[in-house]
Every structure is written in C-alpha cells, then in structure tokens.
C-alpha cells in the first residue's frame, strides 16, 4: 500500500502543479486582502498634514518671523509651509492644492512698527474642514502675539531693523540689545505669567505592551489561503469521478485507502507550500521570531489537511459536482467571517470570538495567533495537536467510507 500511496502522491502533485492559475488565486486573494488591511493600519501615524502657501511680499525680518512661526513645534507637524508668488498661490488655492494661502503685503514690518493698520490676507480651502481652521486660529494667535510684542519690544525691534539695514551689527550691539530684551521680559514676565496654577505631573502607569494590530490579522489571512486551497483540492475527488478514473480504481484490489492517503499527503505538500510562502511574508513584515516558523508551518499545514479531509467528505455527500462545489464555496465565507479571516478573533466581542474558535479554521487561527504572540516558540499544547489529528483522521475516514459506499462506483 505504501508504494501505491507514494505513486498517488506523485500523480496528484504532477497533475496539480499544472494548474498554476489556481495556485496564484489561492495566494493572490489573501495577499491582496492582507495587503489592503495592513496598508490601512500601517499606512501612517494618523496625523493629517496640510500645506500653507505664503506669499511674502514684504520679505522683511518680521515677515520672516511670521513665516517661521508656522513651522514651530507641534504646528510644524501639522502644517507644511511653502513660499510662493501671489500668482502661484492664487492658482493653487483655487485648484484646492493647499489648505490655506497667506499673503503678507509689502510694508508689513514698517506698518507694524509704526502701529499703522496693515492687512494680512488668508484664503482657506473650503473643501477641507480641520486644517484650514487650525491655520486660521494659528494666524489669529500670531497676530495677538505680534500686538503684545510690538507694545513690549517695539524699540528694540526697530533698532534691530535699523542696524541690519545699515550694516552696523556687531557683538557689542547684539549683546546690548539682548540684555535690554531680557530685562524687559524679566520685568513683565511675572505679570504676564503668574503661577496661578500649581501643576503636578503624575507619571502614568507603565502601559501594557499593545499587540501589533496588523499582526492580529496575519493568522486569519494565512487561513484564508489555506481554506481556498483545501476546498479546491478537495474538489479533485469529483474531478476523478467525472474522469472515470475513480470508478476504474474501485475495481482494483484494495487501493482506495491508499488513494485517500495519497491525496491527503499531496494536499499536505501543496498547502504546506502555500503556508510557507504566506508565513515567510508575514514573519518578515511583522518581524516575528524565526524560531516560531517551524511550529507555525506544521500547525497550518496539518490544519489545512484536516480542512481538506472534511471538505472532501462533505463534497462527496452531494449528488452532483455542481451542488458540492456551490455549497462548499458558499460555506467558505461564513467560515472565514467567524474564523477570524476578516476580523481578528481578538478584535471580536468575546461571545462571537468563542463561536469562531469552535469553527475548524477558527480553532487553527486561535492557536496560530497564540503561537505568533507567545513569548517562546512551540506554545501550541499537545491537546490542540491531538484535537487536530483526530479532526483530520475522522475526515479521512469519512472520505474513505464514502468512496467505498458508492461514490467511487458511479
């Protein structure tokens, strides 16, 4: 029987490897879905950024401060400042290519120092909601700040402007003006910032290490590939029946169990190949410890054979190939939904996750998630392995019984 089993394995692998399209589909769909999910989760830090166009027609020291102010601290994380001409700025804001467009007119600094009215023009993008508001608020704060700065440090600013335009800046001047500014700040500082509130900074408790959200999806996505492949491979019993080879085999002496075992081993090889590819990609992307690769691969591959055996047993219960194919294909989607292929079990309400873990693929996903997230490798317990073994053997036994009880003879 063993040599016939090996022949059956070689026969099925030789036939299945010709169907490269199926292999691409089994791998392609989970990779596509996994890629989309991962890019949605890992695609950025969640902070929106906007562009502020500034046309600086004054090109003075003070207008330079204004332009620089938008790039400071947390505001700089939100807003990217681009200096443009008035024409370019008008064109781009009209095209919706920026969050805002600020025009600083010529004579801005002089007007500021002489306390004469001056108008800064800010145009915002009506198609955006959050970032233009932030730019408006920031601009108003800057104007308020400018008003107080002018009141407090107007003479000093004038001196700096005069010295830079006359080219008289030297170390003595810089140190003198710095001391004057510092003295004024020291004098008014306590009045401007009275310590009305006593802030006590409490250190938060050390946070629990949060699992990588994208990693939670990995087991379900791998099982999606395994489900597709195991269901398709199980359909080969119907294909053999329609070819007449199954019937021919049924008239040979005592080879049906070797035939079933051969198909299971061939399925193990194909599913193992698919599992290896998906796991390698997942391990590399999520930087999972490589000592978990072998147990994960074995678990997924043998789990896939269990699914294959049960899909085969189920398909052979139907009166024709079309019904068998239709029902098991329809069954795939609730299985994937409940078993954590679309939503990680850890992200589902506990009662739903509990039901999902009872599904065959959910059982495999749950243990694989545990293995990937565990502190050390080989975390899947013996009971789980035994359960998987009994699921697989029972599926194979039912398949063999169904072949003998008439499926192979028709």
């Amino acid at each position: 029987m063993f040599s016939f089993l090996l022949t059956s394995v070689r026969k099925d692998l030789a036939r299945w490897r010709q169907d490269k399209t199926a292999l691409l589909i089994w791998l392609g769909i989970p990779f596509l879905i996994g890629g989309l999910i991962t890019s949605m989760i890992d695609g950025g830090d969640g902070t929106p950024t906007g562009t502020l166009l500034i046309a600086d027609q004054d090109d003075s020291l003070l207008s330079g401060f204004v332009v620089g102010a938008y790039s400071q601290d947390q505001l700089g994380d939100l807003i990217v400042v681009e200096k443009v001409s008035v024409e370019e700025g008008e064109a781009r804001i009209n095209d919706g290519d920026a969050s805002g467009f600020l025009t600083i007119p010529a004579g801005f600094q002089d007007a500021f120092l002489k306390e004469t009215p001056v108008t800064l023009t800010l145009k915002t993008n009506p198609a955006q909601t959050i970032l233009p508001g932030i730019i408006e608020d920031a601009t108003e704060i800057l104007l308020d700040l400018g008003f107080y700065a002018q009141r407090l440090l107007g003479p000093e600013i004038q001196q700096i402007q005069d010295s830079s335009s006359n080219g008289l800046t030297d170390d003595v001047f810089v140190s003198g003006i710095s001391v004057d500014i510092q003295n004024k700040i020291n004098k008014v500082g306590p009045k401007l910032s009275p310590p009305l509130l006593d802030v006590v900074i409490v250190e938060p408790p050390p946070a629990e290490p949060q699992p990588d959200i994208a990693l939670l999806f990995l087991p379900g996505i791998i099982l999606m590939a395994v489900l597709f492949s195991s269901n398709s491979l199980a359909a080969d019993y119907w294909a053999e029946r329609e070819k007449g080879t199954l019937r021919r085999l049924a008239s040979a002496p005592g080879v049906l169990s070797g035939f079933v075992a051969g198909k299971a081993v061939a399925a193990l090889a194909v599913i193992g190949f698919i599992a290896a590819i998906t796991l390698v990609v997942g391990f590399v992307y999520h930087d999972v410890a490589w000592n978990k690769f072998v147990p994960s691969l074995l678990w997924v591959s043998f789990g896939g054979v269990g699914l294959f055996a049960w899909f085969a047993a189920l398909q052979m219960m139907f009166p024709n190939n079309r019904a068998a194919n239709l029902v098991t294909t329809i069954l795939l989607f609730p299985l994937m939904m409940a078993g954590g292929s679309f939503f990680p079990l850890a992200a589902l309400p506990e009662w739903i996750a509990g039901i999902g873990r009872l599904s065959p693929n959910g059982f495999i996903v749950d243990r694989l998630s545990g293995e990937l997230g565990a502190a050390s490798a080989w975390s899947i317990d013996a009971r789980s392995w035994l359960t998987l073994l009994s699921i697989t053997l029972s599926g194979l036994a039912i398949s063999t019984w169904r072949l003998r009880s008439g499926f192979a003879r028709k």
């Binding site: 040599s3 016939f4 030789a14 070819k243 080879t245 019937r247 021919r248 040979a252």
Partner: protein, 313 residues
C-alpha cells in the same frame, strides 16, 4: 476462469439482469451481445465488483467476487466504455499508475509498461499527455491501462463506441492478442459485426435475460439457411398476415419475423426465388412494396427471429 451463475440485479421493482448464467475459459473471447439497455453493462459491473448482485454467484479465477473480492479483483482487468485516463499525466505514468494499482512494482512494472506501450503503438508518445492524443490513441491507452497487469480475466465494456474504423481494427488486434496470450476476455457490444468477427462464443441478451448462447456457428445454425427479407411499403396487417400464411404451403420454412403497416420482415430459404410469389400475395392482400432488402443469415437475423426487433433499436 469466469463463472456467472444465476446472476440477478434488481433496482427496486426493475430487474436489470435476470438469471444470467455463462462460463468462459482461458484463451476465449466471450461476447455479450445485445441492444442498448439490455443489461450488458450492469452484468459487467457486477462481475467487476462495482455492483453487488442481488442474487447469484460470480467467480473469477476461482475467487468469489463478493466473498473474496480482493483476490478476485487481482485477476481482473477492466477497460471501461468511457475513456478513464489522467489526461494531464504522461501516457507512461498512466500505465505505471494503473500497474501499481494492481500490485506491479519495480522492474516487472517497468518491463510491462514498456511492453504495453509498444503493443498499443504509443512507444514514441510515451511522455506526451493524453490530452494531446487523438480519440483512437486515447482508446488504445485506455485499453493498455486495463491490461498492463496481465489480467487473467479481461472485461471490455463496449470498447469501440465512437471509434473510427482504423482504430477499431487496431483494438480488435489488441483484444485478440490478449486472447492469444491466454486471457479470458468478456466483450460486450451491440455491434453484431464485432461479435461475429471477435467472439469465440457468445450470449445474446435482451431485457436482462440471455435469449441465446453458443458459438457463432451454433447460433447461426439456429437459423438454418434461411435469409432475412425486409420489405417496406404498405401492408394491411390482417390481410397481409393471411396472404403470407397462404404461401406457407408452397414455401415450407416461411415465417414472419415482424410486421407493421409500413414494414414486413420475413425469413425463408432461397428468398430470391420466391420474391414474385410474395409480391403477388401482398398485392392480392391490398398492399404494395416500395423497397426490398435481402440479407444472408447472421446474428442480427437471429436476434430479429428471437426478439422481433432489430439489435440497434
């Protein structure tokens, strides 16, 4: 080598095979001749162990197919009516696979596969996929897969259905070669010419029952030297019957095989000499003849004589 005794296969109230018995020995081609739906395939499925007989006994090389099925199947080779091949597996691998299914291993297997490839004329296409073969080549490979393990009893279920004349002749040669090598061949067909050409002895089956059995010569002798005369035209049923009966005094072995308003089938000796008298009698009965067909005695005539209908109806 192959013994079938009182074989009955029922599906509910319908009896597909009804008390069929025959024996076939070594180096014999035994034919099972009958129209479509006569029960030939059901009988062969019972013999190959695919169907359990309702009653009766089948022994293959001394092994009961029900009680000792595994041993019986080891001696059996089956060439199904449909082409049952792995079309996406090279021809040589198909032969190896079926050889291994019947227990061949190692050098014995390789030697036998090589022999069969030569025998079926596919040695130069051994590594090609059957899906690239012509229909005749697939038929030959289908045959090769059934004989690769040198079965003592070979079951051929209408192996020439849909086969072109050239491939059919080649298949006949293959079947005869198996017979000459000592196999017992059970050959089912609804082609009378095939049965006459190939079979050493045969049974004619209709509606599940064997209605005649023997060698081709023995079966033909049941007809004597009578010809089969088929007339087309207009034949008032009762008047024509009376007119033909009135001729019986002058034509001693004249017999009506079948009759309806459009067709009249007669059997008689030296039919060509009696045609004017027969035409006159029909004319006198108010009928007319538009077409005449005269056949020498053959198995088809015998089937007509026995069942009143044509073999291919």
């Amino acid at each position: 080598m192959l013994i079938v005794e009182g074989l009955v296969k029922q599906y509910g109230d319908f009896t597909a095979v009804d008390d069929v018995s025959f024996e076939a020995g070594e180096g014999i081609i035994f034919g099972l001749l009958g129209p479509n739906g006569a029960g030939k395939s059901t009988a062969i499925n019972c013999i190959s162990g695919l169907l359990a007989p309702t009653t009766g006994r089948i022994a293959v090389s001394g092994h009961d197919i029900v009680k000792d099925g595994k041993a019986a199947r080891r001696s059996l080779g089956v060439v199904p009516q449909e082409i049952a091949l792995y079309e996406d597996l090279p021809a040589i691998d198909n032969l190896r696979y079926w050889g291994m299914a019947y227990g061949l291993r190692g050098k014995t297997l390789e030697d036998r596969v090589s022999d069969v490839l030569g025998h079926i004329g596919l040695a130069d296409r051994a590594k090609d996929l059957p899906k690239e073969f012509s229909g005749g080549m697939k038929r030959r490979l289908n045959f090769g897969c059934g004989v690769v393990h040198k079965p003592k009893v070979l079951l051929l279920d209408e192996p020439t259905v849909g086969v072109d004349p050239q491939s059919r002749a080649r298949l006949f040669d293959l079947v005869e070669a198996e017979r000459d090598a000592g196999a017992c061949v059970l050959y089912t067909t609804h082609y009378m010419e095939e049965a006459e050409r190939l079979c050493d002895s045969l049974a004619i089956i209709d509606r599940g029952k064997i209605i005649a059995k023997g060698t081709v010569a023995e079966l033909k002798s049941q007809l004597g030297a009578r010809d089969a005369l088929q007339l087309s035209g207009n034949f008032p049923v009762d008047a024509t019957k009376s007119a033909i009966a009135s001729l019986s005094s002058s034509i001693t072995d004249l017999e009506i095989l079948s009759q309806d308003e459009d067709t009249l089938m007669l059997t008689l000796s030296l039919a060509s000499q009696h045609l004017p008298g027969i035409f006159d009698a029909i004319s006198g009965a108010g009928g007319s003849v538009s077409e005449t067909s005269l056949r020498s005695p053959n198995l088809e005539t015998l089937f007509l004589l026995l069942t009143g209908k044509e073999l291919r109806q």
